[in-house]
């Protein structure tokens, strides 16, 4: 069995890749996918510590995170579709005014 520290290190690397995606990519859909990657790396730490501490609570929390992520994706993609309809672009640098 691989020690838990290796899972946390892997999760930190995945989280950083996701954060870099949010910071450097300009396509709103790819930024959104990077956010999903960050959520997923947090889930990996939850499951690793649930295994380490023999507690089911971490896994239940991951279940909740998944449900929230599903809701977030539905609303977020609807927002992207609505923005694309009005601006014909999803470059997040172009989306700089609140007025539709």
């Amino acid at each position: 069995m691989v020690p838990i520290q290796y899972y946390t290190a892997l999760s930190a690397i995945l989280f950083t890749i996701g954060a870099l995606g949010v910071l450097t990519r300009r396509n709103a859909i790819i930024v959104f996918m990077s956010v999903e990657l960050m959520l997923n790396s947090a889930n990996l730490v939850f499951v690793a510590f649930a295994r380490s501490f023999q507690s089911i609570n971490g896994q239940v929390f991951v279940f909740f995170v998944m449900a929230v992520a599903a809701a977030e994706v539905a609303v977020g993609l609807a927002l992207i579709v609505a923005i694309f309809r009005s601006k014909h672009n999803i470059n997040i640098d172009q989306i700089n005014n609140l007025r539709g």
Binding site: A12, L20, L37, A48, A50, A78
Partner: protein, 170 residues
């Protein structure tokens, strides 16, 4: 056990490589496919960590439903190559430096605190099974579970309202 380490590092390489593929791919479709590979690798980690229910939920919800929605929207908008022209100049190296600092700090924290982490012991066969999760979900976490159902309903209505065309009267 040597085989544990081989499986761990093999899957870690797949997860990190697909993450970097997501970061660097010019085409949004390739980025989505890379992310599906990443989710699948993480699902196998969940299986190793005695979480079979979470692993299959990961495949069904993340790699299935969520990523199909992403691919659908990318193809609907024809957004494969949109947003490619970057207006970032000095921000990109700064982002890389900050990301490296984040990695180093996180790894340092976990190396320094390794004494606080419980050693791995064997778990019983029904740990992380759907029955165990369900029991916890419907007793300790009953209220959050109900709140999640309201949240999903709100998200569904929100998605419908947001994508409704303005000229149509409701």
């Amino acid at each position: 056990m040597l085989i544990d380490w081989i499986i761990f590092f093999g899957l870690a390489v797949v997860a990190i490589a697909s993450g970097i593929g997501l970061l660097l791919s010019k085409n949004a479709i390739y980025a989505a496919l890379n992310l599906i590979a990443n989710f699948t690798a993480v699902a196998i980690f969940y299986l190793i960590l005695a979480a079979p229910f979470i692993a299959l939920a990961q495949i069904a919800v993340y790699a299935g439903a969520i990523m199909v929605l992403f691919l659908f929207v990318i193809m609907l908008l024809g957004a494969e190559r949109l947003g490619g022209t970057s207006t970032l100049r000095w921000q990109r190296p700064l982002a890389i430096v900050l990301g490296l600092i984040l990695i180093v700090e996180t790894v340092l924290v976990f190396i320094n605190r390794s004494g606080a982490i419980a050693p791995i012991v064997e778990v019983t066969a029904d740990f992380g099974s759907p029955a165990a999760i369900g029991e916890s979900l419907f007793s300790t976490y009953l209220l959050p579970f109900e709140v999640i159902s309201v949240l999903l309903l709100a998200a569904m209505i929100g998605a419908i309202v947001l994508t409704r065309r303005r000229d149509q009267k409701a």
